[in-house]
Symmetry: C3
Subunit: 264 residues, 3 copies
């Protein structure tokens, strides 16, 4: 689904997007979801995640600050989401940095049907079994184009690697998304924001490569607009939210500015 | 207590307001408390919440991201607050969305003396036993005017339902607060912020309907001022904090701009 | 190490700074770390903190919202950091306010080698065994100059007390840092931000008094610049991040504006 249609549906329907996520960027993730037109809910207790899934239109799992109890809730929620047939989107934050993160990503991928995975080049390279360096939650090295295709094939999911250029693959084609601005990489949580927008678009249009690429292009386009008035990463963040909300409210001219192309 | 007196007392005395709250909006809640003139503290460990209550002038309980351990701490803190005679303010976030949230709100209301309850129309309708739809933490339907009166009567507390117009009742009268701006509804945490301000005002003036209405009117007035310079929900939030701080520092002309009236 | 050299190293090397911190100010702490040029990672699970330490260049422990499990992770991470010889920086948030916080600070100080401690006057006075009042996490009274010298001597660490004037001591000399702006004290998390910057500078230059004083002066100088355009505490925070990033990117003229002097 293309960006215009996805944003129109989100504004019209206000679907619930359930996030089980980290406590570092949770506020940004919730606000990004809200600006996109969906309704965010953050709930992590094993006692309620399955019931919350009954009302949700997508589930976003982000392992940015995980521990054992949280992983159990992710699996409970994910299974219920799978049973209901709503898309599950995974952000494997820090996969490659510690074995807990790499193994948790693997456990979620083997135990759940994941529609789309969104991470940085290092994280996706790790999932693809390629050489990579992830320092904390930052990608130091990794080959995003090769990684998304290989990971998508191996994991039977749409896979996106975000960076200066974002790459998205369904295992066959690879799309390159060239919207964005360097300030996005200076804000803590821009990767989590990308996964959140992918989750919102998936709630409207599913997790195919075109929908995921359109989500990332929309986020990047908002970043281009925000950068015009920002004086640094601090002022960029609120302006980015403003731009997301403005594009979501008036998506008419948006698609002409999205730079999505076949990469290979 | 009216807004001018409440804000003067808060600035003069800097009372401690203890929040046991969610990790989504906790930073906003703390900053709102600070801008209002009170001193926020967020502490959730069962090992310290009772001792923290000894220094506090109000306790705010927000169930936005609850789990079992947190509820135990809420009850420990609430009992100590009741014993000390300081007001306890409850935000029943998501009551009506999952049984965990609805039941936890009920458990807190039956086990503690709550001075004031502040939620959205759907949450308050749920507590009042009226038909309502709460999607995640967002009110989709509910009758706020009817709900606040019924809930206040049933629960023997001041009850506020926030929305385009806020309604506040003590079970007899209903006050309507008409300050505010639509951007408030676009920021994640505006409901939590409302409850935080109610907690601060309660620390100064208790939890009666007039004090609660004045707290919400002050927050709404700050929203009106912030909206003048905001270009969307992202830039609105920091400007809202600025306006809260400015009105708190110079409350002289504030009350003339507050729109509180008998609703029924 | 002086500020110019520290910032140049941080930008060139992008060292990982591992924070085990509170959920109130964690986003600000991460963004401050990123703006300074280091790479932040927030990870708290006992299952991964030791492995994360292997890649880290400094560990920052902040007890702002602690519970038992978190303290265990702090000790595991701290021991590994000590074994690797990387600096450990402690923010004893709320020491003096509850016995849990005072005792936890003591437990960390006796079980770990702490390179630098950074808190407010009340917290540092508490650690020094001097009379103090800490209301929640706010310093109400305490003698910072006396406290830093005494605490540094007693605890064999560099000790900083932040406030209108910051004081830093290694047990012999005391440095006064006179950069800063009153708006810093109105933002929730400015103390946590100070400790984060100390952690970043420690990753580059270690935890000696000169390096710690330079970190605080850099943060204060950024506050002075941010205050020029801020209209209150809300707009101050993003501008503060912008100023930190700008000074980090171009540290050439910075040191001429730092006001560090021998205090006693």
């Amino acid at each position: 689904m293309r960006a215009g249609e996805a944003l129109e549906r989100l504004s019209a329907e206000g679907p619930l997007v359930h996030h089980i996520t980290n406590y570092v960027t949770v506020n940004l993730v919730a606000n990004v979801t809200r600006c996109t037109g969906a309704l965010p809910v953050m709930a992590h207790a094993a006692a309620e995640v399955e019931e919350m899934e009954e009302a949700a239109s997508a589930l976003v799992i982000n392992i940015g600050t995980l521990d054992e109890a949280l992983v159990e809730s992710m699996i409970l929620a994910g299974r219920r989401a799978n049973r209901r047939g709503i898309p599950v989107v995974l952000d494997p934050v820090g996969a490659g940095a510690t074995s807990l993160r790499t193994e948790t990503a693997g456990r979620l991928l083997s135990g759940l049907e994941i529609a789309a995975i969104c991470g940085n080049a290092g994280e996706i390279s790790t999932l693809a079994g390629l050489a990579a360096e992830v320092r904390g939650v930052e990608s130091i090295s990794g080959d995003p184009l090769k990684a998304v295709r290989l990971a998508a094939e191996k994991l039977s999911a749409t896979v996106a690697a975000t960076g200066p250029t974002d790459y998205v693959s369904d295992g066959e084609r690879v799309l390159a998304v060239r919207n964005g601005h360097p300030l996005m990489g200076r804000v803590v949580g821009s990767g989590c924001a990308a996964t959140a927008v992918v989750g919102c678009f998936a709630a409207a249009g599913g997790g195919d490569a075109e929908t995921v690429a359109n989500a990332l292009a929309y986020l990047g386009r908002a970043g281009e607009l925000a950068a015009q008035d920002a004086t640094g990463p601090g002022t960029f963040e609120p302006l980015w939210l403003d731009a997301l909300a403005e594009l979501a409210a008036s998506p008419a001219g948006l698609e002409a500015n999205l730079r999505i192309e076949e990469a290979a």
